[in-house]
Symmetry: C2
Subunit: 290 residues, 2 copies
């Protein structure tokens, strides 16, 4: 097995620099990347896996590349953007929930105390997500996300959140697709939070987004079939959950994985642990925005 | 809303006849179909949704077509093929499970009493699936399915099970794909039971197969990352579960659905209940094989 898996040790962390190359060559598919070892590794891997006479040739159907989202494709500073979305939903729904003013973590959100609101970690965030998303149909939820990403502004840059994406990664996505790779998001974030904009922003359709979710229930309301979000955990697509989510949705082991954090370790391990040429890259964006 | 949903009432059930048309025309994309209303409906629907100047034009990304498997794409006679696979696994594993000779439903399977083995319905089948699949890695399971479909023979025809498919449906799948549709299986059958052969037989890749599943667990065994099947229900992709599975995997409402039984009703209802032109077809194969 050839592993190009670059481990989490700081020595091997890749730096996907944001600085644009001074002279972008006409034929360079990734002009935002400096001429680094990381870039050469990606190009070399793609050439080896796509040249028909290569010993490492991979049929197009098996060219699966998976990408973490938060901190890999878009920024996660000053906190997960989905947490901000949830906080905004709590503020919006607060008039209908007078009990929230004295109930944590909602009370801290309403007081604007982000640190206290997030003190409960993943569990508290999940509780807030369920409290604010449950009861909505999947279409209503999609509308609320679409509205938020087209209006809410990042606290320090004033940009839309979907403008807080890393251009070098968009170039990698496009470069891989041109070479017959199918690109998937595999994120700890909410699957239904990413789908409404991932196609437009990343070129990744809803059926190629894997993420965390609460359960949905099918029913007919007033003669109309609806899928309702219910306050019950369905799946956490993080850490050891990532290979599980990959298997459940994709059913085939990826040959390329991009991540940026400990939550991506098992996805990297699973991807690079297969037979044949494999590529696992940890990106470290040295600029908060593109 | 225009609904072409043909309900389960016998009056409206479509007959996808197996008889080959006497004179197959060179340009006919579905030569196995007689010149029926059903065929005209499909062709008309595809033309309306793909012609750029059509009022019912649908962008390629939204051309999602879902197909039930058992009884729709392949035969389900004399019983679900996956049940036969599970029975064969029980016989294979019996020497390691002496307790099965006195424990139902295993005892009935070992005695060859299929009727008694299936008396417990879905629950009993699930119990047998868990008992025979749990503990295997997903790769081991894939190998066992691949071996079975390439060696096991149908009890009455003596053919491989993957030869017990309905040729008119293969033609529909190909015709839709040529017209920019993405085709998905949405079946009550096991997702990992269908994936190993669906690409070769139907042209449907693993990531476009939705089905029932037991849970998997990620771990590292002897330094190798593995996904292990565990004896715990993950998801039943049948009846009201089908729209849920569609949302979870595809994230977009299909515009075409093919099914054959009550288990497909909610998938049909969900598909045809969306806005715009929709097509739901119930097929009734009047021949057990192609």
């Amino acid at each position: 097995m050839h592993h190009l898996f670059l481990k989490t040790s700081s020595l091997l962390v890749l730096v996907a620099t944001m600085a644009f190359a001074a002279q972008s060559q006409a034929k360079d598919p990734m002009p935002s990347w400096n001429d680094t070892a990381a870039k050469k590794t990606i190009v070399s891997f793609v050439e080896k896996t796509t040249a028909k006479d290569s010993a490492d040739f991979v049929p197009a159907a098996e060219r699966i590349a998976v990408f973490d989202n938060d901190g890999t494709l878009w920024s996660e500073q000053p906190m997960y953007f989905q947490a901000i979305f949830i906080f905004d939903r709590i503020k919006e729904l607060a008039p209908q929930h007078p009990e929230w003013t004295s109930k944590e973590p909602f009370a801290s959100v309403l007081k604007g105390d982000v640190k206290a609101a997030l003190a409960g970690g993943e569990h508290a965030l999940l509780e807030m997500a369920m409290a604010t998303h449950a009861g909505m149909t999947v279409e209503e939820f999609e509308k609320s996300v679409t509205h938020w990403v087209s209006t809410a502004k990042h606290p320090t840059t004033g940009k839309l959140y979907t403008e807080m994406i890393f251009r070098p990664m968009l170039e990698v996505l496009a470069y891989l697709r041109v070479n017959g790779y199918k690109t998937f998001i595999v994120s700890g974030g909410g699957i239904d939070f990413m789908r409404p904009w991932a196609e437009k922003v990343y070129g990744i359709p809803p059926e190629q987004v894997v993420g965390s979710s609460i359960k949905t229930k099918y029913e007919v309301r007033d003669g109309m079939p609806v899928l309702i979000k219910v306050p019950e955990l369905n799946f956490i697509d993080d850490k050891a959950g990532k290979p599980v989510g990959i298997h459940q949705h994709i059913g085939r082991r990826p040959i390329i994985a991009f991540g940026n954090s400990d939550g991506d370790f098992q996805m990297m391990e699973w991807t690079t642990g297969g037979v044949g040429l494999r590529l696992g890259l940890l990106v470290h964006h040295d600029d908060a925005e593109r």
